[in-house]
Amino acid sequence: MRRWLSRLAWLLVLVPCLTLPLYVGQYLAHLAVMVLFFAYLGVAWNILGGYAGQFSFGHAAFFGLGAFTSTLLHLHWGLSPWLGMLLAGVVGVLVGLFCGFLSFRYGLRGPYFALVMLAFAEMLRLLFETWMAYRYPLGLPIPLQGTSLAAFQFRDKRVYYYVVLLMLAGATALCAWLARSKTGTYWQAIRDNEEAAEALGVNAFAYKLLAMAISGGLTAMGGTFYAQYFLTLEANEVFGVQISVEILLSAIIGGAGTVLGPLVGALALQLLAEATRVYVRAFSGFDLMVYGAILIVVILFLPQGLLEGLRRAGLALRRAAGAA
């Protein structure tokens, strides 16, 4: 019975997810792409920040590098952005290892690590802004080709929907598998108490590097998707603090260190952002103030995230049903 119920629940989630593009227009498709896209980035951040407990405040570094890697390779060597996405992943892994080595080698933890990552992203932002101003003062001339599978360009947003759905499914499956494996268990041990983990045979340095590599690689691949979806690239945007914050918000609001947290968080945040944008229009910027106020309330009352809130609500309901 229980098994059957859980299968039914999966069907109820999967079927609408897979068929959504059949009955929505471009606007809702775009909204759905944004939800899935930020869920994907949240999953990538969550591996490092939620599981391994290393709070990165500069994931825009990976994101921007990924976006530029595939785009520049496409511009200069005509390399398909699909391959570019893989290479972006490789760049993300290598940069993750580099940043991780520098930070963890010197024992940076907590806020210090967060600040180093922020500084690193800001450094890259300035570097790329300057380089762009000198090399491409009019912006990157990405050749628009309408709909072309090889060029990773589609007029119809619903195609992007399936691409990002697949990326999210892959990343979530990877995260779920890792969470139950030795690697995920070691990450969580490091997050909760690094010294105790070391005493139990955990090579904290190596496992933190591994988390950086995976998280960085996935985030960089997200950068490629972003570049192909919007087909414009601004250094101050893709390396900006705004992106770093948005990446970590969906994981934290949804529930850091849980497999489904980033999905729940991205859904809530994107819908909230869109709703305030559409319905709250007293004056310019007012929607952002409302958005921020709601965020503060959620963090104050559900510090463990929405998923934990839902779980508790479910328990309370079951108890109430049992008592009745």
């Binding site: 030795k182 268990t185 969580q188 108490n193 070391e198 005493a199 139990l200 045979g201 904290a204």
Partner: protein, 241 residues
């Protein structure tokens, strides 16, 4: 060859010498008690053995291998397990997962690690609480969890840092019985303990530290009569009385 050997180990913190030219050995299959008044350097010795601190001088070997320069996780992998004086659970992991962390030292297979962890929880009497989070355990249970985690790594030598502090007499008796069982199974133990009755009952040999120096070593009965030990614990008058 002794399982664990310290020779001339020295550790200073700034101007303070925490451990001074300390030498002693633990043979395979022994239970050795490390005792001394508060601040005599016992926990520092544990931190030196397990690689959390690096000695300023002297040498440490385990089964013939030099420990100096190795990281804590490497020393654990050689077969040295430890508990912490202040329990250090992974507070967001369940009791079972806490022990699985240790069990993953011997296997990469999650199911096997779970099986090992469950068997050990059964042994320490925490099986019923395997789904609990550590903050909801009593102190005695948290001490047993600490012990279970270290055991799950499959050590040859286990260092216990005050596992009986704060326990009731009944809980202390249970812990003594459990440590005896571990010893009968072939585990070598080095224990720091303030509960004198427990450490006297368990240890075959005692090493007494005072201000970081070894002032006495021998069987518990002899050590208890040693005037230097009495002086260290009770003061000058008691020794001359």
């Amino acid at each position: 060859m002794p399982l664990l050997a310290l020779s001339g180990v020295t550790k200073t913190f700034g101007g303070l010498t925490a451990v001074k030219a300390l030498s002693f050995a633990v043979e395979e299959g022994e239970i050795v008690g490390l005792i001394g008044p508060n601040g005599s350097g016992k926990t520092t010795v544990f931190n030196l053995i397990t690689g959390f601190l690096a000695p300023d001088g002297g040498d440490l070997t385990f089964a013939g291998r030099r420990l100096v320069g190795l990281k804590p996780h490497q020393i654990c992998r050689l077969g040295v397990g430890r508990t912490f004086q202040l329990v250090q659970p992974f507070h967001r992991l369940s009791v079972l997962d806490n022990v699985r962390v240790g069990a993953f030292r011997g296997t990469a297979d999650p199911r096997q690690a779970t099986a090992v962890a469950e068997a050990i929880l059964e042994e320490v009497g925490l099986a019923a609480k395997k789904a609990f989070l550590p903050p909801s355990l009593t102190l005695a249970e948290r001490k047993r969890l600490e012990l279970a985690r270290a055991l799950a790594t499959g050590p040859r030598l286990l260092l216990l840092d005050e596992v009986m502090a704060g326990l009731t007499p009944t809980e202390t008796a249970e812990m003594i019985a459990f440590i005896r069982r571990l010893h009968r199974r072939g585990l070598t133990l080095l224990i720091i303990e303030h509960v004198m009755q427990a450490v006297m009952a368990l240890s075959q040999r005692l090493v007494v530290l005072h201000h970081g120096e070894k002032i006495c070593e021998g069987p518990p009965q002899e050590v208890a009569r040693d005037p230097q030990v009495i002086r260290a614990y009770l003061g000058e008058e008691a020794a001359s009385a």
